[in-house]
């Protein structure tokens, strides 16, 4: 009895601490922007937002006065002079880009913000460890640490009551496995659990890292189309590589009235298009949701500066409203983080399951 009361207390205290932390973080963020905007009188909300949601060659943490606090990351490019590896600090920072070894960061054009060759303006092969790649590595390390340690726990005493992280994640894993993967994929579900479980936790952990406003979070990884494209492509490949004969037959010769498919292959065309639109929808949905969430938070924060440009009082007054809205949005994003991971996994499982249909016996 006493134990349960204790956990209740801990839960309540945890909630209060979490709430206070969120509010403090909100104000800290505002303070950072205020410092920032003092120095650069000209306010460009659009640039500010895109600077935060896009990839970067260094991880900018904050700017105190004139000093940029940021982590320089290695640039790895293969271009005019072969392979080149150098620190991103050599290319300068926003507003003060410098040339290094024939490379520079383009300030405008199609490749704005990316490394280009000075001479030609072309893009070299760029395998730089950017902010998103670091975030990706951090999340992968977290995934491996969390799940390998849990697996070890299961191996050593699997029949015991789950404790700690294991107790938190077990219901998730069980419900994913029993309620999504098994019913959606069908009897061959064991062939796909490795992907579906990994993709869920990969998206979930990256979403959560994305809404933490300071290092090591804050990289908008799942709101980057390259990430969601890879995930959707894997779903697409798994769907079609392991598709059954009945699934492909249904694309080539669907069970519809003959006129719809015989002289003109109307249905075939639609079915064939569907093969590609499904994973593309997956890709865009995750990208757009996470991207929009980040932009929403940034816009709400940016509103403070829009108002403070009108006058200082309006800015201060609106900052209270804005912080409350940002806290609300962050909490909403917590929900969205889970929902998007869940939706991506469910739809992937469904698409894979649809391609697992057996020949109907009539």
């Amino acid at each position: 009895m006493s134990q349960s009361i204790d956990t209740n207390k801990v839960g309540k205290i945890g909630k209060i601490v979490f709430g206070i932390l969120l509010v403090i973080l909100g104000f800290l963020g505002v303070a950072a922007f205020v410092f920032h905007s003092d120095k650069e009188k000209e306010l460009n909300i659009k640039e500010m937002i895109f600077g935060h949601v896009q990839d970067a060659y260094n991880w900018h943490i904050t700017t105190i006065g004139d000093k940029h606090v940021s982590i320089s990351l290695p640039c790895i490019v293969y271009g005019q002079n072969g392979l080149d590896v150098f620190s991103s600090s050599r290319l300068g920072h926003e507003g003060h880009y410098t040339e290094y070894n024939g490379y520079k960061i383009a300030e405008e054009g199609n490749y704005a913000g990316k490394i280009v060759e000075v001479a030609t303006g072309n893009r070299p092969w760029d395998f730089s460890i950017t902010k998103n790649v670091v975030s990706l590595l951090i999340s992968c390390a977290l995934l491996l640490i969390i799940f390998l340690s849990i697996a070890k726990k299961y191996k050593s005493n699997g029949f015991c009551k789950p404790t700690g992280l294991q107790a938190i994640l077990e219901p998730l894993i069980v419900s994913l496995n029993d309620d999504i993967i098994k019913p959606s994929v069908g009897k061959n579900y064991k062939k796909f659990t490795w992907y579906l479980l990994t993709v869920f936790f990969f998206i979930f952990i990256n979403n959560l890292l994305g809404i933490i406003p300071i290092f090591p979070g804050g990289a908008n990884l799942t709101g980057n189309i390259a990430i969601t494209l890879v995930l959707a492509a894997i779903t697409f490949l798994l769907t079609n590589i392991f598709g059954t004969k009945a699934y492909f037959l249904d694309i080539v010769w669907p069970k519809v009235p003959t006129l719809l498919k015989a002289p003109l292959p109307i249905m075939q065309f639609i079915e064939f298009l569907g093969v590609f639109t499904k994973p593309i929808a997956l890709c865009i949905r995750l990208f757009a949701n996470m991207f929009a969430g980040h932009v929403m938070v940034l816009v709400l924060v940016g509103l403070i500066f829009v108002f403070s440009q009108l006058n200082v009082g309006a800015g201060l007054g609106f900052s209270v409203v804005s912080v409350l809205l940002v806290v609300f949005m962050s909490l909403l994003e917590c929900l969205v983080c889970f929902i998007q991971a869940y939706v991506f996994t469910t739809l992937s499982a469904l698409f894979i399951g649809m391609a697992q249909v057996e020949e109907e016996e009539e």
Partner: protein, 166 residues
């Protein structure tokens, strides 16, 4: 706009990292976790089933015990009844036997009395006969002192015999 054009570098790192993570987790984490959860579920289910079975068996044993006890009680009552019945029967039998025996004795007694009586009558008869012969002898002896009377007598007797013969 660069927002919608995937960066090849990030694509490369993402593909590499994700596939490695998925491979490692798929090989060492998910099978262990999911397998153990399933195994534990089966174990718990089986244990519950076994407990149910044990409970059912226990209930069965209890019912059986009760049944046996009731049966034993019934049997005792039955036995007591039987004993009472037997006792009564024995008494009854003894009574009838005693009556029969007594009747038999009485009968025997009556028979032997009859026999004694008959014997007595017979003896009396023979004594009477003897007595009368003796008396007759004495009388005859007295009468037959003379020869003529003796011959008369013989003749008379012979006549009688003849009459009887013819």
């Amino acid at each position: 706009m660069s927002l919608l054009t995937p960066d090849p570098g990030l694509l490369f790192w993402m593909l590499l990292c994700f596939l490695i993570v998925a491979f490692i987790l798929g090989k060492w984490a998910w099978p262990a976790i999911v397998g153990m959860i399933e195994e534990r579920g089966n174990y718990i289910e089986e244990s519950l089933k076994k407990a149910d079975e044990a409970n059912a068996a226990l209930a069965g044993i209890k019912a059986e015990n009760e049944r046996l006890a009731a049966e034993a009680k019934n049997e005792r009552v039955e036995m007591l009844k039987e004993a009472t019945r037997l006792k009564e029967k024995i008494i009854e039998d003894a009574k009838t036997q005693a009556t029969a025996e007594a009747n038999k004795i009485i009968e025997n007694a009556k028979e032997s009395i009859q026999l004694e009586k008959d014997n007595a009558v017979k003896e009396i008869r023979s004594q009477v006969a003897e007595l009368s012969v003796n008396i007759a002898e004495r009388i005859i002896r007295g009468e037959l002192k003379s020869n003529e009377s003796q011959i008369d007598m013989i003749n008379k007797l012979l006549d009688e015999v003849n009459i009887a013969k013819s």
